[in-house]
């Protein structure tokens, strides 16, 4: 396997459990028990109502395409061999939107439509980090 030279997430104390989850091929979100909103990215205190009464929930991994771009000029040397590649914001069925790549689709605008159903797939990049990506459901 060629050396992986894309940016690699450095988990932080509030996100360790998120990245442990993706390593097991599970997607975990935070949810607030006071305002009842699930949110991304993971942090202990709810960004909607600032409550500390929050939990982790196991997300289904299903969502839809909120928007996307097809990147032709790679913004980082790690993406040169991938270009053109698809970046996206995915709306999860639990509510939050997450950034991701869309994979398993040729990177042409006509292959992608806003609101198309997507499901999570996982790409292991290091022993510690597995990235959640999305593909047409």
């Amino acid at each position: 396997m060629a050396e992986y030279n894309k940016p690699i997430p450095i988990p932080q104390p509030e996100s360790d459990r998120y990245w442990e989850g993706t390593r097991r091929e599970e997607l975990w979100l935070r949810k607030c028990n006071d305002c009842d909103e699930a949110y991304f990215y993971p942090r202990d205190i709810c960004p909607k109502c600032f409550s500390r009464n929050t939990d982790w929930i196991h997300a289904s991994g299903n969502g839809s395409l909120y928007t996307f771009a097809i990147v032709h000029r790679p913004p980082h040397p790690g993406f040169v061999s991938d270009a053109p590649y698809i970046t996206a914001i995915v709306e999860l069925e639990e509510g939050p939107r997450v950034p991701a790549n869309i994979v398993g689709v040729e990177p042409e605008p006509e292959n992608l439509s806003i609101d198309m159903p997507l499901k999570v797939v996982y790409e292991k990049i290091t022993d510690e980090i597995t990235l959640p990506k999305f593909t047409p459901a």
Binding site: P7, P9, V71, T87, P99, I114
Partner: protein, 387 residues
């Protein structure tokens, strides 16, 4: 929201007396970013007719103020390094005005210098920030990717063909202004609609010509009390309205990709100035991308959401058009070193003073300069008035 009655008291509390670019702008591999700060500061103080020894307030973004102030030889009693991307320098004007009114300082200097094209320094380290954990690993890195995703959402909501036409109108009209600006990077490069549509993809839906330039450039602004402005070389231009703020950092955290924070800062600045959109003679909007201009016109309230394509149709914003916009040639065609906001103010002051040469617009008395920073994250708006 702040209490408007208090803010209204600030209207006119300070005046801009000096603006300048660095000696050159464009491709400058033989100059450091700090030198660009220094040249711009020197030129702006000369424009103001105020010696460096009188500067007692200092503001910049992207560096700590003590690093640049030391380089310049300033020991300020008011210091502000607010950094919220390219909007910062527009926001600094409001901060300088508040500081002047509160008595922190009498002559504030705002500088910017950036070697976007020629910088020898390396990129910032990975500190585990949310953007570095959740966006960068997917190649969601840098403004073209994030802004193009926002533009694609706009296309979904308001129509792809309409949006594309608007983006092309903005690219072409902005280039026409640059063709009239002797220091514009694209001074001698005309652009047709065909050129726009034929330019290569950077991050679909963005063509190359939807994206700002990458240059080396510096600029500076000198701002002081109305009393001190009277003896400045060219007098002063009043700051009569301001607004600032932000609502997210990462593009994936932006609630509505078609409605940036100018929805607050624009109306607030206009209300503080006691004017409406139609009173403005010139509008300078940070054009990091063609799309930034389109959604910013809507968010500021020049037209309703989704009506931007009609607003910019038929080269309405080009030289000779009804709505002069980004008359310097903008970040798209004049200069864009990475953070461009300060240059919207430099051009607005020149137009208000009647110094804009071939591109001078008639009877320019009231201008808006509006900066955007980050991933459509922050905005700063100022309204400037000639005496």
């Amino acid at each position: 929201m702040p209490v408007m009655s208090k803010l209204k008291d600030l209207s006119g509390a300070a005046e801009i007396v000096g603006v300048a670019e660095s000696d050159q702008i464009g491709k400058l591999p033989d100059k450091s970013a700090l030198q660009l700060h220094a040249e711009a500061a020197h030129n702006a103080l000369e424009d103001a007719g105020i010696p460096m020894s009188e500067v007692d307030g200092y503001l910049t973004a992207g560096y700590s103020t003590y690093d640049v102030a030391e380089y310049l030889g300033i020991q300020p009693h008011f210091t502000d390094a607010t950094i919220v991307g390219g909007a910062s320098f527009v926001i600094h004007i409001a901060h300088a005005m508040a500081a002047i009114q509160a008595g922190y300082c009498e002559v504030a200097l705002i500088t910017h210098g950036q070697s976007g094209r020629s910088d020898r320094a390396r990129a910032a380290a990975n500190r585990g920030l949310p953007s570095q954990q959740y966006e960068a690993p997917f190649g969601i890195l840098g403004p073209p990717v994030s802004y193009s995703m926002a533009a694609r959402r706009y296309m979904h909501e308001y129509g792809e063909d309409r949006t594309r036409q608007a983006l092309s109108e903005i690219a072409v009209s902005t280039r026409k202004w640059a063709n009239m600006n002797p220091v514009a990077y694209m001074k001698d490069e005309p652009m047709t609609f065909e050129d726009y549509h034929n330019s290569r993809w950077i991050s679909w839906p963005f063509h190359l010509f939807d994206c700002c330039l990458v240059t080396d450039a510096g600029a500076a602004i000198v701002i002081t009390t109305p009393e001190r402005a009277k003896s400045a070389r060219k007098g002063g231009v009043k700051v009569v309205g301001v607004g600032e703020g932000h609502d997210h950092s990462m593009i994936s955290q932006m609630e509505d990709l078609t409605l940036p924070f100018g929805r607050f800062t624009g109306p607030q600045a206009l209300e503080m100035a006691g004017i409406t959109h139609s009173d403005l003679d010139l509008t300078m909007i940070y054009d990091s991308f063609t799309y930034t201009v389109l959604v910013t016109l809507e968010s500021l309230g020049f037209c309703k959401p989704g009506e931007g394509p009609d607003f910019v149709a038929d080269q309405r914003t080009a030289p000779g058009g009804e709505f002069p916009l980004n008359t310097s040639g903008g970040g798209l065609s004049y200069t864009h070193p990475g953070m461009y906001g300060i240059f919207t103010v430099v051009e607005a002051i020149r137009q208000l003073r009647g110094e804009a040469g071939e591109r001078q617009i008639d009877d320019c008395n009231l201008a808006m300069a509006h900066g955007t920073g980050g991933n459509l994250s922050s905005t700063g708006t100022v309204i400037l008035a000639r005496d």
